[in-house]
Symmetry: C2
Subunit: 196 residues, 2 copies
DNA sequence: CATAAAAAATACTGATTAGTATGAAAAAGC
DNA sequence: GCTTTTTCATACTAATCAGTATTTTTTATG
């Protein structure tokens, strides 16, 4: 990777960490360049505005991560119900980057940036739709293989699972204690079993 | 109500509206006093800091509203499952103040202010716990009256319902279209029926 | 009405914000 | 090596921010 490309990636990664923990609006460019040891000239060479950097974080950091961790595993799945549970459980309890008190990066950005910033809304919508469609496809496969009841509606379940995940992440932020995750997961288990 | 008390209440109400639509951090005191037609001297006579005003909004606007609209109706309920659905459905589709694109005021504040502001966390936790406990009590009553299965765990269901609500509110913000609510409500109906 | 206290008005401050103007260094192309 | 383009560095600006200092007006109380 060229030195310039490295500078750009460093900015994106460090900025993302700051934004995840502090929020987008309250993370200043001065703070970003201080922690990255990059000058303002360099920053504005790579990004025309702060928002352009924000979009780049979604496209170049969040999107690939989501592809790798959620989309591909789910697509390869043979047992949707088991894998939905494992996916959520992994995200809540085991993912090494995510922390209870900081919630879900995508959920946070959605809450903070919509409905005022169209660019953010579009980029985030694309991200979320990707995840949603993958879940729907997985449910359809499960219905064909007999693991899921035929009368289950994929879209409804997808929204229900993802909503619950975003919501419990918000509870986690509030309580800063992953015991809420454990309670939630028990009920998720029960809900998912009812799809069989 | 004295003129002073009226000034204070006006500030709280208008500030709350601004914060609901724009977010807390991005709503400035200058903006609040501009829309309320109140001077800075008056504002800082009533509130020592911006955060003190924020807490007052939670205590004096959000809390009474929640008491009136969610707590009392649920406590009076004879049929928990039906009333849970109606409560969520009302909030999503009928409440005259709430708007799809702005999400849930309590959820928004939680996302934005935790984990950095302890005062906010405490005030919001109190609010949410009130709601949660009311749901749990209602479930217990439902179990006694035979409307809900005995093996249902109240706390799990409470978290599941509230998480789903917060989450779908965030989806609403993202899509700015209440069709996501309709899809969500269908699955909620199905989930709740499984508690019988 | 007189006085004291409460309530509000005005003008300011220092810090922080995103973004810019300009020039210097580094890298690439020939 | 020379030139051009890319990449980065420094110093600045105008706007906005939460909060303060001070004074004036309004209200309550005797």
């Amino acid at each position: 990777m060229s030195k310039a490309a490295n500078t750009r990636l460093t900015i994106l990664q460090k900025a993302f960490e700051l934004i995840y923990t502090k929020g987008y609006q309250t993370t200043s460019i001065d703070e970003i360049i201080a922690t990255t040891q990059v000058t303002k000239g360099a920053f504005y060479y790579h990004f025309k505005t702060k928002d352009e950097m924000g979009i780049a974080i979604i496209e170049e950091i969040l999107k690939p991560t989501m592809q790798e961790h959620f989309i591909q595993p789910t697509e390869a799945s043979q047992n949707p119900i088991e894998d939905f549970y494992n996916m959520i459980s992994y995200l809540l309890l085991e993912d090494p980057f995510l922390q209870v008190k900081y919630g879900c990066p995508v959920g946070n950005l959605t809450q903070e940036m919509t409905p005022w910033n169209n660019k953010f809304s579009e980029a985030l919508t694309e991200l979320v739709n990707l995840w949603k469609e993958t879940i729907i496809n997985s449910i359809e496969k499960g219905k064909e293989s007999g693991l899921i009841r035929k009368d289950v509606v994929g879209e409804q379940v997808a929204f229900f699972i993802l909503s619950g995940y975003w919501g419990i992440r918000n509870f986690g932020k509030l309580q800063n204690d992953n015991s809420v995750y454990l309670v939630y997961l028990k009920e998720l288990r029960s809900y998912l079993d009812n799809l069989k």
